[in-house]
Symmetry: C2
Subunit: 333 residues, 2 copies
Amino acid sequence: MSENHYAEFSECSMKPQDVLEYVSGPMPVPAEGEVLIRMKAAPINPADINFVQGVYGVKPVLPHSRAGLEGCGMVQESRAEGFRKDDEVILLRGVGSWSEYVAVPAVNVMKLPVKVDPVQAAMLKVNPLTALRMLEGFVSLTPGDWVVQNASNSGVGRCIIQLAREMGVKTVNFVRRPDELRDELTALGADLVVGEDDEDVVKNTLARLDGKRPVLASNAVGGESALRLMDMLAPGGSMVTYGAMSRKSIKVPNGFLIFKGIKLEGLWVTQWLKNAPVPEIEAAYDKLARLMADGRLKQAVDTVYPLSDVRRAVEKAQEEFRSGKVVLSMERA
Amino acid sequence: MSENHYAEFSECSMKPQDVLEYVSGPMPVPAEGEVLIRMKAAPINPADINFVQGVYGVKPVLPHSRAGLEGCGMVQESRAEGFRKDDEVILLRGVGSWSEYVAVPAVNVMKLPVKVDPVQAAMLKVNPLTALRMLEGFVSLTPGDWVVQNASNSGVGRCIIQLAREMGVKTVNFVRRPDELRDELTALGADLVVGEDDEDVVKNTLARLDGKRPVLASNAVGGESALRLMDMLAPGGSMVTYGAMSRKSIKVPNGFLIFKGIKLEGLWVTQWLKNAPVPEIEAAYDKLARLMADGRLKQAVDTVYPLSDVRRAVEKAQEEFRSGKVVLSMERA
């Protein structure tokens, strides 16, 4: 095989399906210190959409920017210490995962400690790590504590439910379709699944927490939804924002900060991955990969498309109601 | 002397001057563990106004609630260990400082380590401590770092300028009347004094910071003003809110939290005083009292009124442009 295929774009657009192209080019050649990876799968995350739109925290270098911020594959050729052919790996940094082959510095790659299903492993980097950092990085949680989140049916949301269950931490989960999703999320470990549209939802939900209040709020929505989370928090609690699906600013009543002592912080694992000590990163992924291999951490998948269908896949990934992630496979024609 | 005089109110009102009354009652008698204090002076802070309005974090017990959240005096009679007649003290907790005499548990009182002018000492509890906590409690500041604040001409704002100067930390100070105040605040140690109304103020001000950005923002205003502070902050910086003069919520662009990694927290020294270890509280006030005694920490005073003029004083304290605090004196007829 002397040809590589990948998804690229040469201008940003709010409609990524209009600018993404499935193209071919020469096989990448790994330099000293790099590994050549045959990619197996890569998901389509909101961050990927935003990246092609040009509104993400990492900006594409145009023209001919390659897309895809995470994925998994197998080492085809290694010119770096510690890696050899057939090692199963995930990409930790950089873009271009929507490719058949990539050559990347070994420091941007992590070997999986256990055998993980490729479609699940492809989604290991961002969502499970975001969930883990959310639960471990801000507030010291002990069993019996409550965490409240919105966007609970999202990739991160579902990981938070499952990781909290592992920690003995209880979750209040806001979703838009509680009746449809209650059983599924409860099966993952959700303690409460509640709709966001009820006017008295804060009061009514708090009444179900045995006199406790959440000490941590995970916010991926912003706007009114974030306000509800802050309203529910215990004094001194933290709201951590990792997404902004409503595209609306967070409105913080001053008294929440001054008198209730609430903290607001942000979480962006791309940044964390840049700065955290390597052993800490490895420990986090080791824990997550093992939970995934055991089936205790699973992300829902809506559809798997071959890489050549990248436009259709990206369109699907932007549909509002899906049953899970859209994933690109490089192993299907 | 067998009579006591004090300010009380029996209903809350947005116009404290309409409900506050200067009344007389029997002399308080200290119980075991208490001290009887002859008050010397007490300031009128926004918190006092809000307390009488019923919108403060501490709610009055009506009817016959006494007003005044801080002040200084001299021990008249001690029934507590560690205190004796003529000790100069400030009130650390509780309300009712707008009185000629108060009997309070010794734990609510702190002895001054040095001789401080009573009008200045009366303002030691809240504003200087707020400024000290602001500079010491959230971000680790080193000489040459920048701090940005709004409401810089307020009691706390001026303390921040002076304490930052002591630490070798530089300050950007937003005020509404930069041309009138520049000389005065610069004399206190302000590095930059800027108006808030200029459209390009953020860009223009950043250009004057030698390529640095503030790592801490002190916010007492909210609304647009808070947004400007966040905009100026360095990545990973903190905005700490201790007041809400504009009465407008803080609008936080999600990206500030996620991509810029900014933190939002609140500061309420009343709460801190409740929870902090006693040695830490004493160390803070010791430092502040000594700076005050040395004239290195000074709060501006607009007018001193006798306690009997409490209504007029409270009205004056609500006027927008004053040259400093309004203080009640119990030593003037």
